[in-house]
């Protein structure tokens, strides 16, 4: 799993300046993991992007009072939608992996039932991938990346002004 970047914080710096810096870093981490995330042969990609989306969502909520209200609301909504779509793909990935590990440790008579469940989970994984593809397209269309940076700029301007 990709480790989140350490961000230096100063307890005496203004809350809004920290908000701008932290959100920029977490936003970059999210988009750095977007490449080949739809590839089901490497499930770590979607895991890394999902973790990055959770961290980004968390910092948006931690620093909420520092951002322009209207912009914050729509950005948070879009980050949540992306995180949910990543979850739709990730949940069956994890379940399939667990079932494959379980199957290795059980008697042959048990395997047909687990195979049937894995087949069902593969269908869910495929639907999850379609959901994720649509969500990624939506992220591009609404230019979430730029809007996150604009949100950070808004927090910074609060102090500069």
């Amino acid at each position: 799993m990709a480790k989140a970047a350490e961000i230096d914080v100063d307890p005496f710096e203004p809350y809004a300046l920290a908000a701008a810096r932290v959100v920029r870093v977490r936003a970059e981490e999210l988009f750095a993991h977007a490449e080949d995330v739809l590839d089901t042969s490497d499930i770590e990609r979607v895991h890394d992007m999902r973790v990055a989306s959770r961290r980004l969502r968390a910092v948006l909520e931690i620093f909420e009072p520092c951002f322009p209200k209207g912009d914050f609301k729509t950005v948070l909504r879009d980050v949540k939608a992306l995180a949910d779509a990543l979850g739709e793909r990730r949940d069956p990935d994890v379940h399939i992996e667990a079932m494959e590990a379980f199957e290795k440790d059980v008697q042959a008579a048990v395997r047909p039932g687990i195979d049937a469940l894995v087949a069902r989970l593969r269908e869910r994984q495929s639907r999850g991938n379609d959901t994720l593809a649509a969500a990624l397209e939506q992220v591009r269309e609404c230019d979430l990346h730029a809007r996150l940076h604009s949100l950070a700029d808004g927090a910074e301007e609060l102090i500069v002004e």
Partner: protein
């Protein structure tokens, strides 16, 4: 679970003071689930406690360096708690899914089997039952073991004075204003 609102946050005030307010609320949120979550049947309380642990962990990951040294170590403790509660939650999600899938396959077989025992040979899913029942048993046993671990971990938190020590660390600052 909706996060409790944190009052008195000021964008122009120091990060440490704002972060202290947030962490205090998130810590209180986490501890408020005990003793209710000590009942293994309280699936919702356990799930909400996991969410509370996640929120506390994330705010400490970002702002923990503002506070006294105990806060940095607390991140790892909260992560361990969140991970354990996450594994319990996975069992709570998978158990009804496995039961529902088995019921679906059995229902299909009821249609195909007819009224005599010999008809069972025509049931298309007859070889899947053993695996799904075995999985159900495994998930219940695993869930029970994880829940025992959770109780032990929480007891360890209490023995170590986790909440009080973290609360104290929040009143400290990792550096002085002039440095």
């Amino acid at each position: 679970m909706k996060a409790r609102r944190v009052k008195g946050l000021d964008p122009e005030a120091p990060l440490g003071d704002n972060a202290e307010r947030i962490v205090r609320v998130r810590l209180d949120e986490l501890t408020s689930f005990m003793p209710k979550a000590a009942d293994s049947g309280e699936i919702v309380a356990l799930h909400d406690m996991r969410i509370a642990a996640k929120r506390l962990r994330y705010v400490l990951e970002v702002t923990g360096d503002c506070f006294g040294p105990y806060a940095a170590g607390a991140v790892k403790m909260v992560k361990d708690l969140q991970d354990l509660l996450g594994e319990i939650h996975d069992c709570d999600v998978q158990l009804p899914e496995v039961s529902a899938f088995l019921e679906e396959l059995v229902a299909e077989d009821v249609e195909a089997a007819g009224a005599t025992p010999k008809g069972l040979a025509k049931a298309p899913n007859r070889r899947t039952y053993a695996g799904l029942v075995a999985l159900h048993v495994h998930l219940r046993a695993r869930r029970r073991a994880l829940f025992e671990q959770f109780l032990e971990l929480w007891l360890d938190f209490e023995r170590k004075g986790f909440a009080a020590r973290l609360a104290f660390a929040l009143s400290e600052r990792s550096q002085s204003p002039e440095t």
